[in-house]
């Protein structure tokens, strides 16, 4: 976290360049078959099959490094407020499939361990 004012990443110009290029690529994906329909009606199976695994693979790769940091000992790796909060939130996500309940449970557990248990 850098606070509110620093301009990371080569300054604001770099940020805008990233935004525009990501936006263009994403729009291209969205438009692809909507535009091409009539010429290409079906996604070729060779493209379709890997696409099925994009959401779970990407989401897990986003989540786990924020919850787990590999430390020299197993105990030090496991006794981590983020991992405990993530485990609680994971159970809530599984039982409720509710975004708000998952955020609420995870943040409450994080604060409990940060400000009370480990304080």
């Amino acid at each position: 976290m850098t606070g509110g004012s620093a301009l990371p990443f080569g300054g604001s110009l770099g940020v805008w360049l990233a935004i525009v290029l990501i936006g263009l690529a994403t729009y291209g994906f969205r438009l692809s078959f909507i535009y091409l329909f009539g010429r290409i009606d079906e996604v070729p199976p060779r493209i379709k099959r890997p696409l099925r695994y994009v959401p779970p693979a990407v989401l897990a790769a986003l989540v786990l490094p924020d919850l787990v940091t590999i430390r020299p000992s197993v105990a030090a790796t496991l006794v981590d407020e983020r991992l405990i909060a993530g485990a609680v939130a994971g159970v809530i996500a599984w039982r409720t499939e509710n975004v708000m309940a998952t955020i609420g449970a995870g943040m409450a557990t994080l604060w409990l361990f940060r400000f009370v248990v480990f304080a």
Binding site: F9, A25, P56, A61, L64, P65, W111
Partner: protein, 241 residues
């Protein structure tokens, strides 16, 4: 084939956009907005914490308009990752839109190019899933009007939520760790995405490799983990029987 993108499609003879089909889309998407609102707030909060300003945060929400990729990009920007890694990671996350585009394309085939170009801009996981289900259940429905009703409601909530998140995020002490809400949002999306053995393997593999690769230079860990997870899912599908 209608050439004029804005012409009525025959299902709504009054020709006004604000008719019952639009409102049906708004109505059906309303429960999903409850899940999108906190997601948008988190996008705004995370943007502030990564050092982005209001203009950049809102600019990203308007130009990219795809939550998971925005949060990943914001996280990488905050970590000073190289431009190519930020873009590459976001692009991998959004490539799934090709699937949605292909799946919804037959429903939009009769519309003109301009209308289709506009409809594509607001294509999201939620608008796609809701609309395709409705088109199959209710063929009488004006497709573009229903879709626009759902998609526009999502768009408005996403933009308003981003702005509120930027304002709120700027006023909350760092110690509260509000950016921890980012992995929690993804967790809420990840759990239902792991619905069978290959998708679960893709999630477990992608997550484990991303943790192991967290120390890679250039913040390549996320990209390496995501691509590895896709491969693990495919291998499980092929060799899992």
């Amino acid at each position: 084939m209608t050439v004029d993108g804005a012409s009525p499609d025959g299902n709504s003879p009054d020709g006004t956009p604000f008719d019952s089909d639009v409102w049906a889309g708004v109505r059906d998407v309303s429960p999903l907005l409850l899940g999108i609102a906190p997601f948008a707030l988190v996008a705004g909060i995370a943007a502030v914490n990564a050092g982005l300003g209001l203009a950049e945060a809102v600019g990203m929400s308007v130009i990219v308009f795809a939550g998971a990729s925005q949060l990943a990009a914001i996280e990488l920007i905050g970590a000073n990752a190289p431009l190519a890694v930020v873009i590459g990671t976001a692009v991998v996350i959004n490539v799934r839109m090709v699937m949605y585009s292909a799946s919804i394309a037959p429903h939009f085939a009769d519309y003109g190019r301009k209308l289709r170009a506009g409809l594509a801009y607001v294509l999201t996981d939620q608008a796609y899933a809701l609309s395709v289900a409705e088109f199959e259940a209710n063929p009488e429905r004006s497709r573009w009007r229903y879709y626009v009703g759902a998609a526009a409601a999502l768009w408005v909530v996403w933009q308003v939520g981003t702005v509120v998140g930027v304002v709120v995020g700027a006023g909350v002490p760092d110690a509260w760790g509000l950016t921890f809400a980012v992995p929690l949002v993804f967790l809420a999306l990840l759990v239902p995405a792991m619905k069978d053995r290959p998708t679960t393997a893709a999630g477990v593999g992608g997550g484990a490799i991303a943790v192991a690769a967290a120390g890679l230079p250039l913040n390549l860990g996320l990209l390496v983990g995501a691509v590895s997870g896709i491969v693990v899912g495919l291998l499980t599908e092929v060799f899992g029987e």
